[in-house]
């Protein structure tokens, strides 16, 4: 752990906090991007080069943009009016605080975390590719199927139905 890792961790936490606490939804999405970028930096600093770059490509380049489009499509581009938080916010916040506290306490007391060995460098791209194509080929194929199903499903779910109030007006007959 060095200074850069500490800074990246703080940036990640700040982005995460901004993404759940801000009033403006687009600012929340941008905070999420900061958190993703910080995580990508952490992966790179941990020697997982391939995963770090995939994180940038998929999360910032695709997932983040999808979030932004969803915000714009639900007219959330401005600031939220009224209360930010749901009526049961006290209970929810209490649960979150309790869970985090228990996990952190357990973590700090755990004796088994003192692993000395640190991997020198991550596997090369060739090794990643070979293990994807040999050991993990069935998960890979399942993932391809899942992504196809998700893409088709998302299009069908988001397609306007006929009776919807939001459906485009039907052209008058004749």
């Amino acid at each position: 752990m060095n200074g850069i890792t500490l800074i990246l961790g703080l940036v990640t936490l700040a982005g995460a906090l901004a993404s759940v606490a801000l009033r403006n939804l687009v600012h929340c999405a941008l905070g999420l991007m900061v958190a993703f970028a910080g995580l990508a930096g952490l992966y790179l600093s941990l020697g997982a080069q391939f995963v770090g770059l995939v994180q940038v490509l998929v999360y910032i380049g695709a997932v983040g943009i999808v979030f932004i489009f969803a915000i714009l499509l639900t007219r959330g581009g401005g600031s939220e009016s009224g209360s930010l938080f749901s009526t049961s916010w006290a209970v929810g916040g209490g649960i979150a605080l309790a869970v985090t506290g228990v996990m952190a306490a357990a973590l700090l007391q755990s004796p088994s975390l003192d692993r000395g060995s640190v991997r020198a460098a991550g596997p090369t791209v060739r090794q990643v590719g070979e293990s994807l194509m040999a050991d993990y080929v069935i998960p890979l194929e399942v993932m391809a199927l899942l992504l196809t199903a998700a893409a088709i499903g998302a299009i069908i779910v988001a397609m306007p139905e006929k009776g919807d109030p939001g459906a485009p007006p039907q052209p008058p007959p004749g």
Binding site: M33, V56, I60
Partner: protein
């Protein structure tokens, strides 16, 4: 002191003549703790100097070239034949007032140009400019390039949204839709090279396109059926990715004024302009590395005595001139044509092209190796191209009432 200067000159000489490890001798004169910093500085400095200069010259050449195409002189007042126009433009951009709309989101509005330019400059760090001239030889170079390029979409959205202007937002959404649609053919056409060469490292890809032992022609991927198709697909996708004409809908002046950077003025506008052109140069450089042999000469007898960076820069300038020519020639496409072209033509054709690259990789008989991918890709081109034709048949005009 003399030794220091000597090592500096030797570094420049080694860089210019393509010799390995140009920096090592010079770095040995630098104190131990400064070495990483100096080394990084020496890698970054040429990029930051050469490519913005190339951008400045390109703006002049583009305006003069477009002028010629449109039968007018173009800029011809500042400097010899108007070639110092970029200096006048730069000074104007710097001393202009920086206007920020009152309703704008000031922080996001300020950050957006930086988010555009910094990743574009980062993407140069993996391109091999010459035989031993690559800033970082990353094992995952190609993935790095595309990952960094994906951040551009975010910058465009930030600029369009934070301006609080409906034209900016429309331009930004158009730009993002276009970039996402054309990123897929861009990456898939680059993947063919990865399939055949078997590495993501860009210097290794450039290395693999050197002259064949005993042959007179270099093994550029452009000279194979899948590489030929892949290069043009890549170039079209890169053109759309950089919002260049004929894919410049995000900034269509006649509809949405200037798109996402409408509310930017002064130096921030110049940064957007710079980022767009640098992105185009980086994509062209990647296309050169992937398909046009990188720093290799086209013929074996030219290899070696002309330095690699000359070939790289020459190819880059040729591609820039091609882009200017295309901009002066083709009209802007419509939004539906843009999307149809991406999803119904480019995407299937890149998939067929990947199949062709696979066949090329595994077939050994030269006739089958050349013929099968060529027939496959050519057939797909014809079939998909016919699918793009307008459905309604245009026949001779029928006058219903005037007869």
């Amino acid at each position: 002191m003399l030794a220091f200067l000597q090592s500096l000159l030797q570094m420049v000489w080694k860089t210019v003549t393509d010799q390995p490890s140009p920096k090592s001798l010079f770095l040995s004169h630098v104190p131990e703790e400064w070495r990483p910093l100096v080394s990084a500085f020496l890698s970054v400095l040429p990029i930051v100097m050469v490519f913005p200069m190339l951008f400045a010259l390109t703006t002049v050449v583009e305006r003069k070239g477009l002028g010629r195409i449109q039968n007018r002189p173009g800029p011809n007042r500042v400097g010899p034949a108007g070639f110092l126009q970029f200096a006048a433009d730069g000074i104007k951009a710097i001393i202009k007032e920086d206007v920020v709309p009152r309703a704008a989101d000031r922080v996001v509005h300020f950050i957006a140009p930086l988010v555009l330019v910094v990743p574009v400059l980062l993407s140069y760090s993996v391109l091999p400019f010459g035989r031993n001239l690559v800033p970082i030889d990353l094992d995952t170079g190609l993935l790095f390039f595309f990952a960094v390029g994906a951040v551009t979409e975010l910058a465009v959205f930030m600029a369009g949204w934070s301006s609080r202007n409906k034209y900016s937002l429309l331009g930004a959404t158009r730009a993002i839709a276009q970039m996402i649609s054309y990123e897929i053919p861009l990456i898939l056409s680059a993947l063919t090279v990865v399939m055949v060469v078997g590495t993501l490292s860009l210097p290794a890809i450039a290395e693999a396109q050197g002259p064949a032992p005993g042959g007179w022609l270099c093994r550029w991927h452009f000279f194979t059926p899948w590489g030929f198709a892949g290069f043009w697909l890549f170039l079209v996708a890169a053109c759309a990715e950089a919002n260049r004409s004929p894919f410049d809908l995000p900034e269509g002046e006649s509809e949405i004024i200037a798109g996402y950077y409408l509310e930017y003025s002064g130096f921030k506008f110049a940064l957007f302009f710079l980022g767009e052109y640098l992105g185009l140069f980086a994509a062209s450089g990647l296309g050169i590395t992937l398909f046009l042999g990188g720093w290799h000469a086209p013929f074996a007898f030219l290899e070696g005595w002309i330095p690699g960076w000359v070939w790289f820069l020459g190819k880059l300038v040729a591609l820039i001139l091609l882009f200017i020519w295309v901009r002066g020639t083709l009209p802007r496409v419509r939004m539906d044509q843009l999307m149809n072209f991406a999803w119904k033509f480019m995407l299937p054709l890149t998939l067929v092209n990947m199949l062709g690259a696979g066949l090329w990789h595994f077939l050994t008989n030269p006739i089958a190796r050349w013929g099968l991918p060529a027939v496959l890709i050519g057939g797909a081109y014809v079939v998909l191209g016919r699918g793009l034709m307008p459905r309604s048949r245009v026949g001779p005009r029928v006058y219903r009432y005037a007869d």
